[in-house]
Structure formats: C-alpha cells, structure tokens
Point group: C2
Chain length 138, copies 2
C-alpha cells in the first residue's frame, strides 16, 4: 500500500489527487512549488515505473507546469527528480523568477522555507485545486 | 532548424542521436552526467513539446537513467530540467554517489567541472555509445 513519506507530508499540503500522483504544495511561499508523488509502492526512480505510468507522469508534470504558468506567470519552470534526501519518488515542479532568492541556481538547499500565513496557504491551495479541477480545458 | 545551444556544445561531447534528442556527455568527471537535448526548435519547457514528443522524451530519460545505472551503479539518479542559464530545453540525467562532492545537494553550481583526460573522455563516451546502441535489449 502506498503511504506518503513523512518528510513530504510534513513539508507540504495536499492539493488534489491526479490519476497517478498525489499533487502537493510545498509550504514555502518563496516559490510556487508543487510536488508530484506517484502513488506506487517502493519506487525511488522514474525508470522503475511502468512505461504506462511514466507516460501518465509526464502528462502530470506537464499539467503542473501549465497550471503554475497560468497562475503565476514565472520566467521559467524548473523540474527535478532528485530524492537524495527523501528516497520515495517525487517530482518537483517549481515556478522561477529572475528576482527569486535562488536565481539562477536551483532552489533545493537554498535556505529555510518561508512559511505562508494560514490564510495565504489556504488561498494558494484553493487556487491550485480549482485550476487542476478545470484542467480538462487546457 | 534545430541548432544546439553554444554553451551546451562547449560543455559536452555528443554520444549518440536518439529518436527525439541528441544525447550529450558533460565534460565533468565528477559525475556520470548525461544531457538530453530534444532536437526541436525554439522550445524552452517540456510542456511546450507535443504529447507524442513528451512520451518519447520520458522514455529517453528512462533509458539514460538505466544506462548510467548499468555502467556506474550509482546510489541515486538525479533528473533535472532547469534552463535558468541555458534557455534551450535540455534535461540532465546524473548518477549520484553518497561520496560525491555535492551529496546530498544538487550538482548544479557546485564548482568548476573536473575535466576528463582526453583518453578518459573518449573511453567514457564509447562505453555510453555502446550501451545505448545495444539498448533495444533493455
């Protein structure tokens, strides 16, 4: 049975369940930062998924990128599957701005998360959820 | 017409042309570090590719990961599509080791490349090429 890694659970809020992945929002207002966690047991690498799951994952990455673009209009999308710290497969999809704290470097390990206020987090999460729920029109 | 970005050209050697992407080896012996550059004009983001090209790209990422695993037996594969510096779409596929200079952080921006000797580079490139050319058996 798939159980979300505890570190991912602590650092994020759940936005929506997609076909393959649970879609999470990082609790760091420095970046519009989504994480896709494919709900498959004991998988650490993309190439360990089936060909079919990989194709679905690619479309979920693409959808997450488009939603971030639509809502935040970033200068660049950064996508990463690292897992050096959290071994459960998860894919970062992050909106980047030339003015953000880590530009042009990657965001990982660039400092402590800047927390959303409770209300901001709820609003951001709801905007993302609404965008994904209407995403059949993309 | 697709023309490989000059910075990518300078930092890599070509290993092989796959169906969608040209497969490059970074001239940095610190990591087994491949780059896939989809041969499509004026594309900066994965979601700008067609659905069909995205599915092919996913399989090329997966194949590159498997080849690195087979040849180097790393502790983890890191995959990244950043493009904050080089705007032409390219995907990093990197073998990571608990003992490498950047572990557990990402590799990007962690220091100057450690050059291969001329012979090492040729040998590494040939090993990769042979692995990809026999990859129908994977």
């Amino acid at each position: 049975m798939f159980v979300l890694n505890q570190r991912l659970k602590d650092d994020t809020v759940e936005v929506v369940r997609l076909k393959l992945s649970v879609l999470l929002l990082m609790k760091d207002r420095s970046f519009p930062w989504l994480i896709l966690a494919p709900e498959r047991e004991d998988i650490g690498e993309i190439h360990e998924l089936s060909v079919k799951d990989r194709a679905v994952l690619m479309e979920e990455i693409s959808l997450a990128s488009k939603v971030i673009e639509m809502l935040y209009n970033p200068d660049k999308i950064n996508i990463g599957a690292l897992g050096n710290v959290v071994p459960q497969l998860h894919i970062h999809v992050i909106g980047r701005f030339r003015t953000d704290r880590a530009w042009p470097g990657p965001v990982w390990g660039t400092g402590p998360a800047e927390p959303y206020s409770g209300d901001e987090l709820r609003v951001a999460c709801e905007r993302f959820r609404a965008a994904f729920e209407s995403s059949h029109s993309f």
